[in-house]
Structures are given as C-alpha cells and as structure tokens.
C-alpha cells in the first residue's frame, strides 16, 4: 500500500510493525511526533508507552523493558541524545537490545531545534565513554525511515546491541510516498532451551542469533555495567576484561557482512567518487545526475561500522573523493582514513540548518 507520510510517521509505523512494544521518551523537536504516535498506537496493540522525566530515564526505562523481554525503543534529538550516552554505553556493555532514534538537529547545546543537520554522525560513534563498537543506520528519505527502522529493530534483537537510527529534521518532517509492505518478517528473540543451572548469559556461543534469557523467566540473570565475566558478575582481572571487550567487538566485526549496507553506483570511467549518507546524499546524487562527467557514488545506509573496505576499494585509483555532508566535515575524516594520499579529498560542508543543495555539490564536481 502506498501512502504519503512523514519520516517520523514512517519510523513509528515501522517500529510497531517490527514488534516494538515498549517506548519510553521525552518530548524534543524534531522527534516528538514519533513519541506522540507511539502514545496513540501502543495501547492499541497492548504495548506500553511512557513519557519519562528526561532522556536519561527514557533510555534506562527501555533498557529495563528490553531486559524483561519486550522489544523497546526511544526517539530523541541532539540534547536528549547527549543525555542518553551513558545509558547507550550501559546497553552496549550489558548487551541489551534497544533502538535509539536520533532525529538530528543543529547543535551544540540547544542549537537549532527546528532545523536539520548531520552533526551527530561522530557522536553516534564516540558519544559514550570507553571503547566499543556501535551500529548506526542512516535513511536518505521517508521510505528508508520505514525500512531502516525495521532493520534497526532486527539487528538489535539478533546481536543484543543498541542500534542508533540517525534520521534528521529534513527527513523527519518531510512527506514522501512510501510503499508499505503487506507483510513484514519479524525476528523474535528465542528463549534459552537449557535448564537455568546450565545457562550462561554471556556464553561464547551466546552471541549472534542465539537464544538468551530475560528477567522473569527463572534464569536468575545478572546485569552489570561493570566489566564482567560470562555470568554477568563483575570482576577486575585483565584476562576477563580483555575477554569482555573482545566479545563486544567480535559481535560487530564478525558480522560485518550482515551489517554492511551501501547503495553503490560505480562508473569505471569516473575519476571522482562521491561518498555521502542520509539527506545530504540526496543532493549529492542529484548533482551526479546533473553533471555530464562520469561520477562514482556510494551512499552508506549503515554508517557505523563504517564501510572502510568498500570505500577503500571504490576510491582506489580515483583522482578525488568528494564528501558532501551537513556538519563541519565529520564524514570527511572517516573517508580520509580510507583513501590513499594520491587521492584528493574534497570536503563539501554546510552547517547552517539549511539543506545542502545539489548546486553546492555540483560546484565541487567541476
């Protein structure tokens, strides 16, 4: 079925269809419509909506609900996303599946409440303290708000990780035709099949797609944000800490093929490659269509983990790589890591709350 909806509406609708049954949130422009829709729809499907006292409470409440077995989500924007960082780290450390939608606006501080940006790209990766991998997805338009929300829920449940969906104000409030599928495949986490005495919550094979216990199922599980051993109990010795860190890293690195998601439009004759994501990629692609020169193009849908290998391969032998984005050059830093010194990096940035235009990108392609 095809309908004209906004990005925020598409996101909420996808969340419900993906099986999200708990939403804890705090109002913030430009994400509020997601909370409002969830408040209206969740009771209808027997789920829980609660408006918490702040974003810290919101992230903790969804972690609690998810640990108790209910697929959970929150939605926020810059200031709230900053407040959630410690909780996102807790979800990563305790391996609790949650989806955090950040409808990006300008910053820092209160910044630009009603205007869009892509300035939380690096915060999504490095916003929490400590070092651990992160999964973040970026839609280019309203249709992808739907599909990537579905995917965010699925990844979070399969890998027991927090997944960040980086939308932005432009997409959140923009209306486009979305084709909604009749049926959506939903991955349901499986309950352990072993007796409680045999069950180990962080067992080596208890990672990708594995069954895992929730509260209230008789498995006496222990969650702790401290570095812990395989039963969740905190312990301070170096080998256990290494094991714990390695486990968090492996679940992302061992699953790169599953996580990686790019739109690639290569052209063997092109001496220029565009790398972009999200709404800026719309203008970038428009510019590619407007120029008569051959241009290679990659748009990352999964931005974290960053598609290093793919960008490296596509950039190889090119004269230059053009990186359009709506911040002060955060994506350019990532791309720079991946390209050789023989390739010129052209960073095209706009950070004033307005949409980067195809014309601005086109100038860089001259």
């Amino acid at each position: 079925m095809r309908r004209l909806v906004s990005g925020n509406e598409a996101c909420a609708e996808a969340a419900l269809r993906a099986g999200i049954r708990f939403f804890g949130g705090y109002p913030i422009t430009p994400s509020t419509e997601i909370a409002e829709l969830m408040a209206e729809e969740l009771p209808r499907v027997g789920g829980v909506f609660i408006q918490m006292e702040d974003e810290i409470a919101s992230i903790m409440a969804i972690i609690g609900a998810s640990a108790a077995g209910v697929p959970s989500m929150t939605a926020t924007s810059g200031p709230g996303f900053s407040l959630m960082q410690e909780g996102i780290g807790y979800a990563a450390m305790t391996e609790v599946a949650v989806v955090v939608v950040n409808v990006m606006r300008g910053g820092p501080a209160t910044g630009l409440p009603t205007k869009g940006s892509q300035a939380d790209f690096q915060q999504a990766r490095w916003g929490t303290h400590g070092d651990h991998p992160v999964v973040a997805l970026t839609p280019r338009g309203v249709q992808e708000c739907f599909t990537l929300t579905l995917r965010a829920v699925e990844i979070s449940q399969r890998l027991r990780v927090p997944v960040i969906l980086l939308m932005d104000e432009f997409i959140g409030h923009m209306r486009e035709i979305v084709s909604f599928p009749e049926k959506v495949e939903v991955y349901h986490r499986q309950k352990p099949r072993v007796a409680p005495s045999e069950y180990i919550h962080y067992a080596p094979d208890n990672n990708y797609n594995a069954p895992y216990a929730s509260f209230g199922e008789g498995y006496a599980i222990h969650f702790s944000g401290l570095n812990h051993r395989s039963d969740g109990f905190p312990i301070n010795d170096a080998p256990t800490i290494r094991w714990n860190n390695e486990r968090l890293r492996a679940k992302i690195e061992d699953n790169l093929a599953y996580l990686e998601d790019n739109y690639v439009d290569d052209d063997p004759d092109a001496d220029t490659l565009i790398v972009a994501f999200g709404s800026a990629a719309r203008s970038a692609y428009e510019a590619k269509l407007l120029t008569d020169k051959p241009i290679a193009y990659i748009r990352a849908l999964t931005v974290w983990p960053f598609p290093d290998a793919t960008v490296r391969r596509l950039a190889k032998g090119r004269k230059r790589v053009v990186v359009p984005e709506m911040n002060e050059g955060q994506l350019a830093r990532e791309v720079e890591r991946c390209i050789g010194t023989d390739t010129e990096l052209v960073s095209v940035t706009r950070n004033d709350g307005s949409m980067l235009t195809p014309k601005e990108v086109l100038e860089a392609l001259r």
């Binding site: 804890g24 027997g46 006292e53 919101s58 640990a67 509260f215 209230g216 109990f233």
Partner: protein
C-alpha cells in the same frame, strides 16, 4: 570500600539465607566488617522468605555504590544499573512485566542526588516497587564525600570543615511526590526493619523505606565514631519514634531521626492503571 577478608572461622549462616545467595567464588563479598548493608540485605531476604515470594518473580535492581552491590549476591534476577538510574530502569521492567516483584536498593547519594529526579517521578507515578534507600550519610563507595543527607556540621572528605548544606528528608520527598507507602527505620532496629520491608512488599504502588545505616569505615572514621558498635549506638541515640516525636518541639527534633510509618494508603499502581487504559482503548475499536 575495603574488601572483607575471608573469615578463618567457619561461618554459620543459616541455610535459609544461603539458599537466597549465589554461593560461588563471589564470596567474600565487598563490604567492610560492621557495615550496615548486610543487616538490610539480611532483613530483605528474611522478608522475601517469610512472604514466600518466588525467586522467579523477584527482581532486585540497584544503582552504583556500596549499597548497590547487593544484587550481585542474590540468587534471583538482578539488575546492577548506572549510578542513580535504577528506578528508571526498574520502571521499564515493572511495566514490561507487571507480575514481577520489583525491589530497588541504593545509597542516599544514588537515590537522592544523581537519582533524585527519578526518585520523585517514580514515586509520583506510583510504579509498583519497593525502594530501599540505605542512608549512611555519605558517599561511601567513592571514599566519604558529602551526600544530600550528610547532617549539618558533620564531616565528609568534600566537607572538611563540616557540611553547610541542609540535608534532604527522603521520606518527606517521597510523601510530597505521592508515594503510597513511606517509612523509616534504622539498622539498630532489625525487627522493625524486617517488618517494614514485609509491609512494603505487601503494598501496591511506590513504597519507600529509608534505612539509616552505619558506615563505620568512612563516615564513622571521618566523624570520630569509627567502631560499628559506637556508630550504631550513635544512630540509636538520635532516633525517636513517630509517636514520641509528636510530643517534641522543633528544637528537640532538630538533630533527630524520626522512625515509623509516615504514609500508608491504597493506590492503584501504574501498571494497573495502564492495563485499564489498554482495555479502554481496545474496546473502543
């Protein structure tokens, strides 16, 4: 926090207490000898046992601090959350699984400073849970800094000249926020402590129990009351019952801790209200 040394004596814990603990190499536990936390933990286990709350239904959540290390030792579902955030996380658990018996423990800093906002709002919403604030008058885990309950003129490492802040009253705060059950006791009074935990566990909505407890290692030492016995005696000397307090004037009550039940009322707890809302919405369609 100094780790407790493994006792050379053979410990004779009651087998009942043992049956509620994760008896593996986690012991010895992290708490100091003479600490009040064990008394509260013991009372909680007795209360759970006497009320026959099935382990499978029990969740013990906590934030960060000495007190908050409790869940790690309990053989039930346990949730050691972030500093100050246990009530918010426990709210998620309770709404996801209203059939679970949720207990949240934390220190005075955890619950009333960094977690103060969650404390107010969890009480206001009357989320169904028992919240035990262990008030040892300081931030023990981090070495004795001033907390929101440090009494005026007493010492902490960040109040080296004596505290000039007025302390907060957890029971008044919870009452004002709308909690269904509010009570206070001390570790001196184990019988009342156990009874109040049982009462709290039998009520609906948000139930606060503040327990004034000794931290001899840090608060006691900084305030020249360093032995557990002297500190418990000091707590007792400053305690008056609610009945006795009614006959005392403000001046006499100035440095006193009033114990007893301040609020005990019937409420429809949040998850019940929510279930009713779901029913209403679904019937309308």
């Amino acid at each position: 926090m100094t780790p407790a040394k493994a006792s050379s004596r053979k410990t004779s814990f009651s087998p009942m207490i043992h049956s509620y603990l994760r008896m593996d190499e986690r012991f010895p536990h992290v708490w100091c000898p003479g600490c009040g936390i064990g008394i509260v933990f013991g009372a909680l286990i007795h209360a759970v046992h006497e009320l026959k709350i099935p382990k499978k239904k029990l969740l013990l959540a906590s934030g960060i601090g000495c007190t908050s290390r409790m869940p790690g030792y309990l053989d039930a579902d346990t949730f050691h959350v972030l500093h100050g955030r246990a009530l918010a996380a426990a709210t998620g658990v309770k709404l996801a699984r209203p059939d679970m018996e949720v207990v949240v423990v934390g220190g005075d800093g955890d619950m009333l400073a960094i977690g103060g906002n969650h404390f107010i709002h969890t009480a206001r919403r009357n989320i169904g849970m028992t919240c035990i604030v262990l008030n040892n008058y300081n931030y023990a885990m981090t070495g004795g800094q001033q907390s929101p309950t440090t009494p005026r003129d007493m010492f902490a490492t960040t109040a080296p000249y004596g505290a000039i802040d007025d302390p907060v009253d957890a029971c008044l705060l919870a009452s004002g926020a709308g909690a269904a059950f509010v009570a206070r006791t001390t570790t001196y009074n184990f019988v009342q402590l156990k009874r109040l935990i049982k009462t709290a566990l039998s009520r609906k909505g948000f139930r606060l129990l503040e327990v004034v407890a000794q931290c001899p290692t840090i608060f006691g030492r900084l305030n020249r009351i360093p032995t557990p016995k002297d500190l418990v005696t000091w707590i007792k000397a400053h305690t008056v019952t609610l009945e006795a307090a009614k006959k005392m004037d403000a001046k006499e009550l100035e440095d006193k801790v009033v114990t007893g039940v301040f609020v005990d009322r019937e409420v429809e707890e949040y998850s019940e209200r929510y279930a009713r809302l779901v029913k209403k919405v679904r019937n309308a369609h």
